[in-house]
Amino acid sequence: MQLLLQQIMAGLANGAIYALVALAVVMIYQAIDHLNFAQGEMATFSSFLAWQLIAWGLPYWAAFFTAVILSFAAGVAIERVLFRPLHHAPILASLVGFIALFSILNSGDGYLWNYTIKTFPTPFGTRPLFGSALIDTHEAGMIGVTVLLLALLYLFFRRTRLGLAMRAAAANPDSARLVGIRVGWMTALGWGMAAAIGAVAGMLIAPVVFLEPNMMLGALLYGFAGAVLGGLSSPGGAVLGGFAVGIIENLAATYIPYVGRDLKLTIALIVIVAVLMVRPAGLFGRSAVSRV
């Protein structure tokens, strides 16, 4: 029982990382209806930015918020400059755009900040929480920030005019344009928000996995899986999906003899695909009804 609890808590801590990434993935998916492969690399770049600011002597929180704001601006700029021209191209052309962006950012990180791993500070400390060995303060802080972000996003999308306009622009661009919503800018805003959330995710993950150009690769994979498991149309579902992936992965490694440890990623993915068999639009996603 103690082992089970311990593994679930460890899974939750990993899951917080995946949940944050999943949230950013779903955000951008809702704004642009595409999956952004470069999401992880954008987050890594933001984390490097914050690291550089801290190295230049800025206090943690100043660096944190500067990085978030710069990431937001960069996200908007990337949409305006790179993806707006591809708007009318075939759908998969923008996929190449994402892969290109991935490649550029990844290689740029390595060029600017080289490939040696760097430690990244945490504002929460790493003492065990409440004296128990199950979870430390940084992990708890990470879970807290995820939940807080989710709540803020919920309020933004449900309770503000801008949030409503963004949802409308994503759900039905033509009708949204007819009622006077500037759809192009809503998309750009979605990119900016996703980049900002990605920046937060990157800076919270960096103390755990250490900062290096490829740090988000694994996290993005699991985050993507979590987002799909929870349902791409539901931010809350994506967060739960992220936590679930973390827990499944840990439990598989512990409890499935012989194959568990080597194949834990494979097992997690099999579980997810199995869930998708039963609920093809994810656990909390709504499946679209198509008009003929």
């Binding site: 998916y29 209806d33 999956l35 492969f37 790179l82 021209p85 591809l86 009318h88 191209a89 075939p90 759908i91 998969l92 052309a93 996929l95 190449v96 755009g97 892969i99 290109a100 962006l101 991935f102 490649s103 550029i104 990844n106 290689s107 740029g108 390595g110 060029y111 759900a171 039905n172 994979l221 993507f224 899986a225 799909v228 791409l232 149309s233 012989y258 194959v259 080597d262 194949l263 990623l265 494979t266 993915l269 099999i270 997810i272 695909v273 998708l276 068999m277 093809p280 639009a281 994810g282 996603g285 499946s287 679209a288 198509s290 008009r291 003929v292």
Partner: protein, 344 residues
């Protein structure tokens, strides 16, 4: 996922749209010319370049497999690197562990991949768009782990992989091993491309494309969508698997980490840049996937990835519907300006 039905449409640069009447004849001449050039190339270039050209054809074949599934049937796959790897391993194991001749391993690799692809196509029936992308992505991520798994090490060689012997050319031909492999690959690729061309022009091919263009209308017309979709998955995996088998023979080595998900992604890049739903476009995609990273490397070693990304962006900005769409556009423009000239 509200835009699902629309998503299928832009995938579809219809193969049959064609140009003016003069185009089919021209197409035949272009094809004959291309084959003639392909036959001469190994004598113009030597050694490493011949090997690279062999790889271009192999990648082109793998991209053709993906194209059958994504370009013609509208099913999205981020996992074709797994079928490529599976084909490669089947060949490597048959050749090195059981001493099977290399040419017999191709049908075996194709068969195994067809079966796996067909079986994977069954659950894939329930998934659409990005959800299907994740399921196939899972395949691509899982394969290297499975290949490294210590329970299978006896066959797969674990992390070490398997070294494959290079086949000797038949003794009556005055060519070296690289050239022989080039011609062998060329023959296999030509046969499989001809097969694919026939497939997409047949009744079955039209059914496959109808499912892509409008799944609901297609099933209303009596097309057995689940059957065609799973079969397309199988055939697609077969093509990519045979490409993987050829790849194992050409590279003479298989190891788990050469078949990671980045391979699947580069197939996808090759497909999009070559052109969805175009057969010659696949070879262009192969060319791009093989040579452009090398070019990027030679421009700047430290920023190779960034240069590759910038080239990708430039290409997609200039030709948003791939090389095939671009060629089609150019030909349409040319013939239109020719038709506009007053008759003399």
């Amino acid at each position: 996922m509200t835009t699902q039905p629309q998503e299928a449409v832009p995938l579809a640069p219809a193969q049959t749209r064609g140009g003016p009447a003069a185009w089919p004849a021209l197409r035949h001449w272009v094809m004959i010319g291309a084959i003639a050039i392909a036959l001469v190339l190994p004598f113009v270039f030597h050694g490493f370049v011949v090997f690279q050209l062999t790889l271009v054809m192999i990648y082109g074949l793998a991209i053709l497999g993906l194209n059958l599934l994504t370009g013609f049937n509208g099913q999205f796959s981020l996992g074709h690197g797994a079928f490529y790897g599976l084909g490669a391993y089947v060949t490597a194991i048959l050749m090195q562990r059981w001493g099977v001749a290399y040419y017999w391993t191709l049908p075996a690799a194709g068969g195994v991949c067809f079966l796996v692809g067909f079986l994977f196509g069954l659950p894939a029936l329930r998934l659409q768009g990005l959800y299907l992308a994740l399921a196939t992505f899972a395949l691509a991520v899982a394969l290297p782990q499975l290949l490294k798994f210590h329970g299978l090490e006896h066959w797969t060689g674990g992390v070490q992989g398997i070294v494959v012997d290079q086949p000797d050319p038949p003794s009556f031909l005055p060519i070296d091993a690289d050239q022989w492999l080039y011609y062998f690959t060329l023959a296999v690729v030509l046969i499989l491309f001809a097969g694919a061309a026939n497939l997409v022009r047949s009744r079955t091919g039209r059914a496959i494309m109808a499912i892509r263009d409008h799944p609901i209308a297609a099933s209303a017309m009596g097309i057995n969508a689940p059957l065609y979709k799973t079969l397309t998955f199988g055939v697609s995996a077969l093509y990519t698997g045979i490409a993987g088998a050829l790849g194992a023979i050409a590279v003479q080595f298989v190891a788990p980490d050469s078949f990671n998900f980045l391979l699947s992604i580069s197939f996808l890049v090759g497909l999009i840049i070559g052109g969805m739903g175009s057969l010659p476009g696949c070879l262009f995609g192969g060319l791009f996937v093989l040579y452009v990273p090398n070019i990027a490397e030679s421009v700047s070693r430290g920023l190779a990835g960034a240069v590759y990304g910038v080239i990708m962006l430039l290409v997609i900005f200039v030709m948003p519907s791939g090389a095939a769409g671009f060629t089609r556009l150019v030909i349409a423009r040319l013939s239109r300006s020719r038709n506009r000239q007053p008759p003399a």
